[in-house]
């Protein structure tokens, strides 16, 4: 089961998250600033925050799966 969870990283479905993270970050940054430089900076920070957040969720699911 754990290997299945790990294997899902390489499964095609998880990569659909990448364009969503990019778009959400850019629009979120875009609504907080007016100049491109600041929008890009904010977007990068938002993207990192999202990836870390998703990573924590993944780690929690992984840990819960280990307990079963």
């Amino acid at each position: 089961m754990n290997m299945l969870l790990l294997g899902s990283i390489w499964d095609a479905q998880i990569w659909y998250a990448v364009p969503l993270i990019v778009v959400i970050s850019l629009v979120y940054g875009g609504t907080r600033h007016e100049h491109l430089k600041e929008i890009v900076g904010h977007s990068v920070r938002a993207a990192i925050w999202l990836i870390v957040f998703l990573g924590i969720i993944f780690a929690l699911v992984w840990w819960a799966n280990m307990q079963v």
């Binding site: 479905q13 969503l20 778009v23 959400i24 979120y28 609504t31 100049h35 491109l36 929008i39």
Partner: protein, 214 residues
């Protein structure tokens, strides 16, 4: 009515002419970025338009044009449509489709047709192909089923039994949910864009700053 917007300080200081914010918000709802074009904020207009329209269209394509539809029937309460309707133009089309298919009428822009065995069309011509599975026939009798672009699934929508919505899920597998997700995200992101067109960017000004939004 023209509204001036000032916020931020130092390098981040922003001064904008929001023109008529209500018109800008309406345009932004109809088409992402259109409100910003109206306010002559072209860079952000292009950014929002590319991001949101591309996301929405991608979701619609992988969902084969079926994942955005307006239906609030007892067994098919499409709550996702409320989120998708953050993008006005396609949601208006979906609403028009839901009105068109009432009373068992065919939708605009028919994308696929399914016929029961032995079905003859209005000209008396036998339709040779059959797309309704044997175990689903009893629900549809001798009626043809026509899937329309952004039209709700044909009734009856049956709980825990085979119906058109079930066929869509079976045909598209996880792409139905994925297409729904992309279109929902695009619709919700456009709510932020509408706010930006209406009230300007949500820049946090220092508390002691005299300049403020509005």
């Amino acid at each position: 009515m023209s509204l001036k917007y000032r916020a931020g300080h130092g390098e981040e200081a922003v001064e904008l002419d929001l023109r008529d914010p209500r018109i800008a918000a309406l345009l932004a709802w109809l088409w992402p970025g259109a409100g910003h074009f109206y306010q002559r904020r072209f860079m952000k207009g292009f950014l929002f338009m590319i991001c949101i329209v591309a996301t929405f269209m991608y979701g619609l394509v992988i969902g084969r044009g079926r994942v955005v539809y307006a239906s609030f029937r007892p067994n098919d309460f499409r709550w996702q449509f409320i989120c998708q309707s953050g993008f006005g133009m396609p949601s208006l089309l979906a609403l028009a489709q839901s009105v068109k298919v009432k009373n068992d009428r065919d939708p605009f822009f028919v994308m696929a047709e399914r016929y029961p065995r032995g079905y003859k069309d209005a000209k008396g011509q036998l339709r040779e192909y059959e797309l309704i599975a044997a175990n689903e026939r009893q629900n549809f009798q001798e009626r043809p089923i026509r899937d329309g672009f952004m039209a709700p699934p044909k009734e009856p929508i049956l709980k825990d039994k085979n119906d058109v919505l079930g066929m869509w899920h079976a045909e598209m597998r996880y792409f139905f949910d994925l297409g729904t997700l992309f279109t929902v995200v695009a619709g919700l992101l456009n709510v932020l864009v509408i706010y930006d067109a209406f009230a300007g960017p949500a820049i946090h000004a220092a508390p002691d700053e005299e300049e403020g939004a509005g």
